[in-house]
């Protein structure tokens, strides 16, 4: 039965891709025969003309000397994705593994884990990086998906421009201007995994500008354990926000935005326990997060024609896992940028930034973080010069960022790029850059129970249980990357574009671990052997890979976007220590070697859309290893119907090719390994 439904869906997909009635041929879009038609149209008619060309996106992209992929609002909507991490699967070179219904591991070009730490994620210039874990808690950060204008995914180091932690990539989420979101929007729906969701937005004119206010809430269903039992990972969240944009008389453009959120995500931890004959006791935990931010930005053009931006934000949040951890943090961030065009050749940007973050952390049980309160500060300065050597043909970019932070000190991060655009349809670029990752608060101050090996078990024949405990290392240094990249883009006629990127990355001082001296800990409550493990900078790695993205319009109403990513990651230990080798094994087995996806988007007369998204992710590790995750191929389908221009109903099926599949294994925190289920949901979207 299940099988037949699936073969049906595939059959339907094939039917659509082959047997759809072709519209009377518009031939190539470049035809001039019809030019007079558009030109003689009235404004009212022109406002109703449907536009299908992809030219806009590729034109802007053709100019960038980096591996950039832009996920547009339309891409997100047509993918059926219901969260930011799910939408990131649309970009090549990005690994997205859903650990549970409320947790993701997202990385670019390797080193994937729930606390992937080599990625900088920004939303409208605000860093979403958690100082505590040096990663992004995807279950905490969110916005109204309909408000996202685009997500720029920049693979490769962006440190010279964006700052520390932009080691393997930068994800830049840009929301729409308030004036583009006028009127009311109501989105509501529900289904099997997406139990229920609703969002509302209201946009209005205020003074010489516009303002929108919005709110959203959802509840998500639980996933399942490998054997099919229901997992304890449901998710409820609510948030509200606003954004206002004003143009002042003086030419200043002000943006003010803010958000408040609340979320509750459940999980079951297998807490290491020396009293347990299995070494661990399952413990249901409930993570509660709440907080908000306020951001203001002012952009203006100076008298000499140069442009300046000043931005400030305050964010404050609380993360509570009763029985183990509670973190309260307030961050203040200031940023200034100035762009000057010097003559015909130099396009100069320089800037200054300062961030101050203060936390208050209490911890009990398996986690102990010290000191309880700590502040972190980071000051940075950067400059980038884009030099035009041959107008419209050859450009050089030099960037340098100097950063000083209170955790690990001074780090210079330079980059050099060159881009050659022999025509407006093709470009070839290459770059060399250096980036650093600052150690996180947890790495410098957290002691965490890793595992208990019960007494008289195959690997522990002693009569005492062994507790492996990860200790903090206050002397941990930065991780370092030297990256070599190149890429090529080509627009073939009006209907096809191709983007290829190659990279070779050399990492040093990656965080590994080293074993300390075991000792006997006397009762109470029980005697046990303590095996301490400390983080160190003992791992080296080299990665290389290729990412390919194509964008093809076989017909004006049909778009096909294939992507492919290849990654080869080889880590090695500088010390040969057993714990360091274990870290190496984790690095070497956390990322799929091959990934590909194929998207097909069909638009029937603006009233109906049919979208198909086929994805394949290669295996992790080898069968038998605790890190093993088999390869999987899955399919999402979406059908949308617009009875009127302002109302859209859509039906989305997700992960249709199997009942459930795992995408990752738990890392760091002792969560259970869970699997992602097939799901569907129905959604209504009404603008009024």
């Amino acid at each position: 039965m299940r099988q037949s439904a699936i073969s049906w869906m595939i059959g339907l997909g094939l039917f659509l891709t082959t047997a759809c009635p072709a519209p009377p041929l518009l031939a190539d879009e470049g035809v001039t025969a019809d030019a007079s038609v558009a030109v003689d149209m009235s404004l009212e008619d022109l406002l109703n003309v449907e536009i299908t060309s992809a030219a806009r996106k590729s034109q802007r992209l053709n100019d960038v000397a980096a591996a950039v992929y832009v996920i547009t609002r339309e891409d997100i909507e047509r993918s059926g994705a219901t969260s930011i991490p799910e939408a990131l699967r649309l970009a090549p070179g990005v690994s997205v593994a859903r650990l549970a219904n409320n947790r993701w591991a997202v990385s670019i070009r390797g080193f994937n884990s729930r606390f992937s730490n080599k990625l900088l994620v920004l939303m409208d210039g605000r860093s979403m990086y958690s100082q505590l874990f040096s990663g992004v808690l995807w279950e905490v950060e969110d916005t109204l998906l309909e408000d996202i204008e685009r997500i720029e995914v920049i693979r490769g180091p962006g440190a010279a421009m964006w700052g520390a932690n932009a080691v393997n990539g930068v994800i830049n989420i840009i929301t729409r201007r308030a004036r583009d979101t006028q009127g009311n929007l109501l989105v509501a729906g529900g289904g099997s995994e997406e139990s229920a969701f609703a969002s509302f937005r209201h946009g209005m004119a205020v003074g010489d500008g516009h303002l929108r206010v919005w709110g959203k809430a959802f509840a998500r269903d639980e996933s399942v354990a490998p054997q099919g039992q229901t997992a304890n990972d449901d998710w409820r969240a609510a948030r509200a926000g606003f954004r206002g944009d004003w143009t002042m008389g003086s030419g200043h453009r002000m943006t003010v935005s803010g958000q408040a959120y609340y979320g509750s995500t459940d999980d079951t931890w297998l807490v290491p326990d020396i009293r347990s004959p299995w070494g661990a006791t399952p413990n249901d935990v409930s993570q509660r997060t709440q907080g908000g931010f306020l951001l203001a930005r002012d952009e203006w053009t100076l008298a000499d024609g140069s442009e300046a931006v000043v931005q400030a934000y305050v964010s404050s949040g609380e993360l509570k896992i009763p029985g183990s951890l509670s973190e309260r943090r307030t961050t203040v961030d200031l940023d200034f940028q100035h762009r000057i065009l010097l003559g015909e050749r130099h396009d100069l940007i320089w800037g200054l930034g300062y961030r101050y973050s203060r936390d208050d952390i209490s911890s009990t049980g398996m986690i102990s973080i010290r000191p309880q309160q700590q502040s972190f500060s980071l000051a940075s300065a950067f400059i980038q010069d884009e030099i035009t050597l041959v107008p419209e043909t050859l450009r050089l970019l030099f960037g340098l960022r100097l950063e000083d932070n209170s955790f690990s000190g001074f780090a210079p991060q330079p980059s050099g790029r060159v881009i050659w655009t022999p025509s407006e349809h093709q470009s070839l670029w290459a770059s060399v850059s250096r980036a650093a990752r600052i150690p996180s608060r947890a790495e410098l101050g957290a002691d965490v129970d890793g595992a208990v090996i019960p007494a008289r078990s195959p690997i522990n024949p002693t009569p005492l249980p062994i507790l492996v405990r990860n200790f903090a290392n206050r002397d941990l240094g930065d991780e370092d990357l030297l990256a070599y990249e190149m890429g090529y883009r080509h627009q073939f006629g009006r209907a096809l574009s191709l983007d290829v990127a190659l990279f070779y990355n050399v990492y040093d001082d990656l965080r590994g671990r080293q074993t300390g001296v075991p000792r006997l800990v006397p009762p109470p409550p029980l005697p046990y052997l303590l095996f301490p493990v400390f983080p160190d900078n003992s791992v080296r790695a080299r990665t290389h890979g290729v990412e390919v993205a194509a964008d093809w319009y076989p017909l004006p109403w049909w778009r096909i976007q294939p992507i492919y990513s290849y990654l080869d990651l080889r880590a090695s230990s500088k010390t040969g220590d057993a714990a360091s080798l274990e870290s190496v094994a984790t690095f070497n087995n956390s990322d799929p070697r091959h990934q590909w996806a194929l998207r097909s988007s069909m638009s029937f007369s603006q009233r109906q859309q049919f979208d198909l998204w086929l994805r394949h992710v290669g295996k992790l590790a080898t069968s038998g290893s605790p890190l093993y995750v088999p390869a999987y191929t899955t399919l999402d389908l979406r059908y949308a119907w617009r009875p009127t221009r302002d109302l859209e109903l859509s039906l989305v099926g997700q992960n249709l090719l199997d009942g459930q599949h795992p995408e990752s294994v738990a890392s760091l925190l002792p969560s259970r390994n869970l699997e992602i289920q097939r799901g569907w949901y129905l959604k209504g979207r009404w603008q009024f």
Binding site: A35, V37, L46, L47, Q59, D63, M204, T247, Q608
Partner: protein
């Protein structure tokens, strides 16, 4: 749930079977549509009489672009608007824009947008662009995308500064000035 899936699929197939209007699409490329917009803007904007040397002097449409919009705009050469012929001229840089009445700046030229707008500030010149956030940068009319269609935004302060009068017909269709309504 599985049976729901089945019904959903049936409904979907039914819906698709009724799609006979698939073919009814207009054959207009984005570049041509943009040229159509520019022509209409020229139709609905009034320049101070002194900018024209003679009663039948042409409206000079200058183009700062390398892309296919430039090609589509070139095709407007010789058309009549407000009783005047349109003359199209392609520019190498903004300093040559002084005699123009309309200046189209393509998105591909947006890198130097601030400088370009500065070079033409205060002149009786209608600036139009398909660059992102053009009116925020001080441009007069921005062509934008929304809802799979092209729309436009008007910067009234910029029009005033350039001593141009836009007809109410134009203003009421501008996305940013229209009565608050979703459609985006």
């Amino acid at each position: 749930m599985r049976s729901f899936l089945r019904y959903a699929l049936l409904a979907l197939v039914g819906a698709l079977a009724t799609v006979t209007e698939v073919a009814a699409q207009a054959a207009v490329s984005e570049a041509q549509a943009k040229a159509g917009f520019v022509l209409n803007f020229a139709r609905y904007v009034e320049w101070p009489e002194r900018v024209f040397a003679a009663r039948d002097a042409p409206i000079l449409l200058c183009v700062l672009a390398r892309d296919d919009v430039a090609t589509a705009l070139t095709a407007l050469d010789g058309r009549q608007v407000q009783g005047r012929p349109i003359a199209v001229r392609r520019l190498a840089n903004a300093d040559e824009a002084r005699p123009c009445q309309v200046l189209f700046i393509a998105e591909s030229e947006s890198r130097r947008l601030a400088l370009t707008l500065r070079a033409v500030a205060g002149q009786p010149l209608l600036t139009v662009s398909d660059a992102d956030a053009f009116i925020d940068a001080g441009g007069a009319i921005g062509i934008v995308r929304g809802d799979g269609r092209l729309q436009f935004e008007v910067n009234r302060a910029a029009l005033d500064q350039a001593q141009l009068k836009a007809s109410s017909n134009l203003l009421k269709l501008a996305r940013n000035l229209a009565e608050a309504k979703g459609r985006n």
